[in-house]
Structure formats: structure tokens, C-alpha cells
């Protein structure tokens, strides 16, 4: 093949150059003769190659599949039928053999609101971090680039680079960048870098793995959507018949609900305990308890132009529970997931409010959600989610501020249906009735999630 290409290139070259230097007929004749010779050469070589290819094909045809079954031939065959070296797809040779796994996830939305999402505000719960409603109208969501590979025999590393649009500018962020041990003994592991904290059930899940387009209210209000920070994570898996994992994290404390990297850059820590098991072949469950303590210095929430600044300590307790059902555990055909989380938090410190100065703040808040998702037939799922928040009264000084809850607890419910042509694509329709950030608003939305390249396995 390469030879043929060469001939063609030579011919073009010769053809193009000929007028410039082939001045005499004799020279042209000589060239013609040379070309004829070349062509004859290649034709004989190609004929030889074709003959060898035919032979190879014939031999291949006589491989094991075509061997006639004869009584005692198999021992010999098992011996001669040598295992082949793990033959990948036309293995590339060169510097790129060690390329890490690379995947890209695309997300986009079309969302409609009755009220103006710019005025979205949950009384008593000024939103921080990434929390808030999806953009109105058509919008591109986070485009996530995932890169991962084993570093060596003892470490593995992961990088998530979302490309997001913030205030009209395209920004590449480092969402996750961590290395983790793979060879520690006794069921221990240590992760270092930037990662989603292991608290709760949904906190560690990337947005493409959520069952609804947005996070539950309690994640939005308490964790700024998801708690992500820099630090260290220890996990220990007990050597027991049942699943029991204990974990602890120490973190920089630079992200909501922490802020300002307090305590010389060790602003928060977390603890978690997780257990789970099976009930027969068809059911499995997981339950967890988590604790988060976050110190904040001038942590911003509420409006971006006139933020509320909190300095103090947040303590949070979370309980999560997930139940999954599939007939015989075969979730390809039909399956059902029930999931619920409860969170309680106390924030103790002071708020600096625009126009009001600094006020002491010590208040308890709680919230929960429950959701159920059912897949009746392959590819189609339907889901329901109910969300609720509740806040104590922070005191009369907070009247007419965004920190004062109204008499009724903010709530919301959502319905969704999604269709997945394969594991790598999903299109979702979602309806939400919101009495949290609005006074009763119907929202309709469409979302797509597409994944190309390597795609890591999902956790339970």
C-alpha cells in the first residue's frame, strides 16, 4: 500500500516537474522506460503479497473453529491452541501507548420558569457556592473532561476539568484533581488533592449521574450544591462480611459551606460511616451517617453584588439511605431506586449584612428530600422527588433580611422522565413545582447528557 502511494507521489512529482527540465525527447523516453520498469516491479510485488494473503486466509480458515470434531483430538488441541497475548484493538506503538483514559461529558438544558429566575431566593436560606436555578431558556451546561490513569503500582490519579460559562466567559476549572493510594494494606486508602467530600449520598456524585437535572434543595441550601474542597481523605473498609466503611477528611475550608481557609488553611473536617447489604437477590441497600464541621471567614452567600458575609462555625449532621430493587438483581430490564437524605445544621457566628453591620447569628436549620425512580422497561425511567427545608427563627434583628424564614417551610416537588438510548446518552424531561425560591412556580425543562470516550464505572 505504502509502495503504491509512493509510486503515485513520484508520478505526480515527475508529471508536475517534467516541463521544467525534461527538455529532450530522449530524456522523456528514458523516464518512460524507467516508469514502466517501476510499474512492473510493483505489480509483481503486489501479486506476491496477494498470494501470501490468500495463503494466510486459507490457514486462518483451518483454525480451531473449523476443526472437525474427532473423539480424542481435544487434548492435543487445547495444547496447540495457544493463548494469544491480550490483543487489543490494533495496539498503537509509541509515546501515546501510556495515554490516560480520556472522556468528555456534554450537558445542555432548555428550562422555562413562570417567575424570573433572577429573583430566585429562599427566605432564611441565602444560597452560596454553585447553588441556584438553572439558566432560563437554552443553555450549555458543564462540559466535563475526565482524565484518569494509574500513576504506578501504588497510586492512581484523576482529573476533572469542567469547561463552564460564567457571566458570558468560558472558564476552565479544576473541579477535581486527586491522587489516591491503591496498595495500602488493611483496607486503608488515602486520597489527596481536590475532591468532592465523601459526606452524604449525592455529594460525591458528578452531575451527569444525578437522577434529576438539579440538586435537592437541602444540597443547594446547606452545601452550595456540593461540597468540594482541597485536602486529605482517609477511608478504612472493615474486613467484615457486611459492608462497613469509615472515613475522615481534613480540608482547606475554602469552599461553601466553609470559606476563607480558616485555621491557617485547615478550615474543615468531616467524618463518615457507611454500611449496606443485600436482601435476597432482588434488593440491596446502603445507609450512611456523616458529620461536617466547617469554619468560615467572610463566607459569601445571597446576592452576588451585595453578599451576606458569615464568619463562624457550621456543624452539620447528615443521614442518607438508598434502596435499590431489580427482579433477581437484573437491573437491565426493570429496576426501582428509593433514596432519601436528611440534614441538620447549626451555624454559630456572625453575619455582616449590607446596611445593617455585623449581627450575632446562632441558628438551627434542617431539610430533607426523598425520591423514587422507576425503570419499567429498558431505556425508560420515571421519577418523583419531594424536597423540604425548615429553619428556626434567627431573632428579631434579622427581620426583613434574607436570613429570616417565612412562616411556611420552603418545599418543592419534581417529576422527571428520561430516555437512554445507551449507557452513554440520556435525554430528560423534568417538571418542578417550586414553593421555595418562588411563591409557587411551575418549571419545565429538558436536559441532555452525552458521554464520549472512557467512562468510569458508577458507584452504588
Amino acid at each position: 500500500m505504502r509502495n503504491q502511494v509512493l509510486v503515485i507521489i513520484c508520478l505526480c512529482f515527475v508529471g508536475g516537474m517534467a516541463p521544467a527540465w525534461a527538455q529532450t525527447d530522449t530524456e522523456i523516453d528514458a523516464l518512460r522506460a524507467e516508469l514502466r520498469q517501476m510499474r512492473a516491479d510493483y505489480e509483481s510485488r503486489i501479486a506476491e503479497l496477494e498470494r501470501r494473503l490468500d495463503e494466510a486466509e486459507k490457514e486462518a480458515g483451518e483454525q480451531p473453529g473449523a476443526i472437525e470434531p474427532q473423539d480424542d483430538e481435544y487434548v492435543m488441541q487445547a495444547d496447540t491452541w495457544q493463548p494469544e497475548p491480550a490483543a487489543g484493538p490494533a495496539a498503537s506503538r509509541g509515546d501515546n501507548v501510556m495515554n490516560p483514559a480520556l472522556g468528555v461529558i456534554f450537558q445542555g438544558y432548555a428550562w422555562s420558569y413562570g417567575d424570573d429566575p433572577d429573583n430566585y431566593q429562599i427566605p432564611g436560606f441565602p444560597l452560596g457556592g454553585e447553588a441556584g436555578p438553572l439558566p432560563e431558556g437554552l443553555s450549555l451546561g458543564e462540559t466535563e473532561i475526565d482524565i484518569s490513569a494509574n500513576v504506578d503500582d501504588k497510586f492512581t490519579a484523576w482529573l476533572t476539568l469542567p469547561i463552564v460559562i460564567e457571566d458570558g466567559d468560558t472558564v476552565v476549572e479544576i473541579e477535581e484533581a486527586w491522587a489516591e493510594t491503591t496498595a495500602l494494606p488493611a483496607g486503608l486508602s488515602l486520597r489527596m488533592g481536590r475532591f468532592y467530600s465523601n459526606i452524604g449520598y449525592l455529594n460525591g456524585k458528578h452531575s451527569h449521574a444525578w437522577d434529576f437535572a438539579d440538586q435537592p434543595l437541602v444540597y443547594q441550601a446547606f452545601l452550595g450544591n456540593q461540597y468540594l474542597d482541597d485536602g486529605l481523605q482517609f477511608r478504612w473498609l472493615a474486613p467484615t462480611d457486611f459492608y462497613l466503611e469509615l472515613g475522615a477528611e481534613i480540608l482547606r475550608g475554602d469552599r461553601y459551606p466553609a470559606g476563607g481557609a480558616a485555621n491557617s488553611g485547615v478550615g474543615s473536617y468531616t467524618l463518615h460511616l457507611r454500611t449496606g447489604g443485600d436482601v435476597g437477590y432482588s434488593n440491596s441497600w446502603q445507609a450512611g451517617l456523616s458529620y461536617l464541621q466547617a469554619d468560615a471567614i467572610d463566607r459569601a452567600s445571597g446576592s452576588e453584588d451585595d453578599p451576606l458575609l458569615f464568619t463562624g462555625q457550621t456543624e452539620m449532621l447528615m443521614a442518607d439511605f438508598v434502596w435499590k430493587w431489580a427482579p433477581n438483581g437484573n437491573n437491565r430490564q426493570r429496576n426501582f431506586i428509593f433514596q432519601a437524605e436528611y440534614m441538620w445544621q447549626n451555624e454559630d457566628g456572625s453575619y455582616q449584612l449590607p446596611g445593617l453591620g455585623t449581627l450575632p447569628y446562632d441558628n438551627d436549620q434542617r431539610g430533607w428530600y426523598l425520591q423514587a425512580v422507576f425503570q419499567p422497561v429498558p431505556r425508560w425511567r420515571v421519577g418523583f422527588r419531594y424536597d423540604l427545608l425548615s429553619s428556626d427563627n434567627p431573632g428579631p434583628a434579622y427581620a426583613d433580611t434574607p436570613l429570616m424564614p417565612t412562616g411556611s417551610d420552603p418545599y418543592r416537588y419534581s417529576l422527571m422522565t428520561d430516555w437512554s438510548n445507551s449507557e452513554f446518552s440520556r435525554v430528560r424531561l423534568q417538571y418542578t413545582y417550586d414553593r421555595a425560591g418562588f411563591d409557587g412556580d411551575s418549571q419545565w425543562g429538558l436536559q441532555y447528557i452525552y458521554s464520549i470516550g472512557a467512562h468510569g464505572a458508577h458507584s452504588f
Binding site: G187, L237, A238, D241, S284, K324, F460
Partner: protein, 299 residues
């Protein structure tokens, strides 16, 4: 807090069971093989059962704790378990069974894989670039994997190496005889045309000389669609093929639908041990596959 952790440790310690070689099999056929070759000296469990599609199971908490305590993992590999095994390994915190270590055995590495793609693109469906991973339906493959597994057992448990070797010799003899018997009985199946639900029978077809003429799935991993099925009716009209085969974990609706319209018998074949009432061990499993094909074909 420190006291709580210590207390938990104390409570847990007596629960840690002491056993022989603990083997985590990804699929029931490897569980059966490990039991066959390891006998009393191994403690084996399978992550999936015969009624589960091994492509799509959840990385459940119970499986994480099994991986944590395993001495050896045996899985089909070739990306069959890519949707869940990496997560189990990641959460299992067990360096003994990480890929590349002695405690990780990928069965498909020891056989000649079919359908190895030169280039892959997901528009072709959920294809496995390292070849078709459903290697277990050719009993000759089982023998190759058995040799590798037996060797691995002896390496991990050298005190019982002789015993593993003897068991292997015995299994080799019985299995070779069984293959010869199956070959004789299945000779009439050679050249029969098969419509498969999913491309998971290529090794069986290769062994018995069956010819796969179509699949119910329009593309690997994409469930059968009405339009694809009606095309198959047109294409295979009245008895244009000999069998429509599916695994027990696949819905029987598409194959029954096609069978009704074409007169081609629909057959459920156990794709692993436990896939049918009769398939209780490796030997009865292949007996049953052949029985079912012969019965359905009236042969």
C-alpha cells in the same frame, strides 16, 4: 471519637472469618470452575447469578466487602465487567486483587478471543474493543482457563499445590471426555442458522459450527426495536433460520414475537451454570445447552 473507633474495631474483630483461599468470581461459570478445581480448600462466591446480565449490575455494598476480603478475583474480563468491577476494586481497598497482581485472573486472556475489532466506534453499539467477552460458552475455552486457574491456585496456596494439580488432572480427563461426547451428540447441529438475542454466543457457535445470521438487538447493547424485529420477519420469512436463542436474563418477548411470525423455534439457553434447572454444574450446563438445541430442532 478515638474511643468510638477503638470500640468499633474491638466489636468487629471476632466477626472476621478465617477461611481458606477466598475467591471472588465475577460470573457463576468461574465460581463453578473454582469450586471444581479448588474443592474444599477454597471459599468461592459469585458477584452475579445466571439470571443477571453481567454487563449491568450495581457495584453493591455487599460486593465491595467481598472484594475487600478476597485472595483471588476471577472474571471474564475483556471489558465485560467494565461498568462495575473498576468501582468495586476502587472501593475495595485490596491491593492483593488489583489488576496486574497475582490475585487478579482475567479469563479471556487465556483464550483466543473472537470479534476483536480493528477499530471501534460507539455508533457500532456497545462493542468490546478487546474482543467478545462471552468466552465461557465454548467448553474448550473452559479447559484453557481451568489450566490457568489451577496454576494460580497453586501459586497462591503452595501448601496445597499437589492437590490442585491432581484435581486438575482429574478434571482435564473428565472434561476432555465430556467434550468428545458433546461433539458427537451435537454433530447434527453443524451449519444450523441461529438468530441470537445479543452477540453473546459466538464462542458456542464457533465450537458447534452454528452460523449466526442475525441478532435481535439492532446493535450490541441496544434493546430490540419493533422496526428491527419486523425487518427480521421479512428477512427470515418462514423458517429462514433454525433457532432463535437468548440467555435467561434477557426478555423472552422479542424472541417469542419473532418465533410466532416466522415459525423458527425460540430457545432459552443457559449462558452459565444455574441458567436453567438442569444446569447445576459445568457438566450438566453444557449437557443442557445441547439437549435444548436438539429438542428445539427436533433432532
Amino acid at each position: 471519637m478515638k474511643n468510638t473507633i477503638l470500640l468499633t474495631l474491638l466489636l468487629i474483630t471476632p466477626l472476621v472469618t478465617q477461611a481458606d483461599l477466598r475467591i471472588f468470581a465475577c460470573e457463576p461459570e468461574w465460581e463453578a470452575l473454582a469450586r471444581e478445581l479448588g474443592g474444599e480448600k477454597v471459599d468461592v462466591s459469585s458477584a452475579t447469578n445466571a439470571l443477571q446480565d453481567p454487563h449491568y449490575i450495581q457495584a453493591r455494598p455487599s460486593l465491595i466487602s467481598k472484594v475487600r476480603r478476597a485472595d483471588l478475583l476471577i472474571c471474564s474480563g475483556a471489558q465485560l465487567e467494565i461498568g462495575w468491577l473498576p468501582m468495586l476494586l476502587k472501593k475495595g481497598n485490596n491491593p492483593k486483587v488489583m489488576p496486574g497482581s497475582e490475585g487478579f485472573l482475567e479469563a479471556s486472556q487465556f483464550v483466543k478471543r473472537l470479534d476483536v475489532a480493528e477499530s471501534v466506534d460507539r455508533s457500532q453499539g456497545d462493542v468490546h474493543p478487546q474482543g467478545n467477552p462471552h468466552i465461557q460458552t465454548d467448553p474448550r475455552n473452559m479447559l484453557l482457563v481451568a489450566e490457568a486457574l489451577s496454576k494460580r491456585l497453586a501459586e497462591l496456596d503452595p501448601a496445597n499445590a499437589d492437590s490442585y494439580q491432581n484435581t486438575m488432572a482429574d478434571f482435564r480427563e473428565r472434561w476432555t471426555a465430556a467434550i468428545a461426547e458433546w461433539d458427537k451428540r451435537a454433530a447434527v447441529l453443524r451449519g444450523k442458522r441461529v438468530i441470537a438475542h445479543h452477540k453473546s454466543w459466538v464462542y458456542l457457535e464457533n465450537w458447534l459450527g452454528l452460523v449466526e445470521v442475525a441478532t435481535l438487538e439492532p446493535l450490541p447493547g441496544i434493546p430490540p426495536t419493533a422496526s428491527h424485529l419486523s425487518n427480521l420477519v421479512q428477512q427470515f420469512g418462514h423458517k429462514g433460520a433454525d433457532f432463535i436463542i437468548r440467555a435467561p436474563y434477557q426478555s423472552d418477548k422479542p424472541s417469542e414475537w419473532l418465533s410466532e411470525r416466522t415459525g423458527i423455534p425460540a430457545v432459552m439457553l443457559p449462558s452459565t451454570v444455574g441458567g436453567s434447572e438442569q444446569a447445576t454444574d459445568l457438566f450438566s450446563w453444557f449437557d443442557d445447552i445441547i439437549n435444548r438445541l436438539l429438542t428445539a430442532g427436533g433432532l
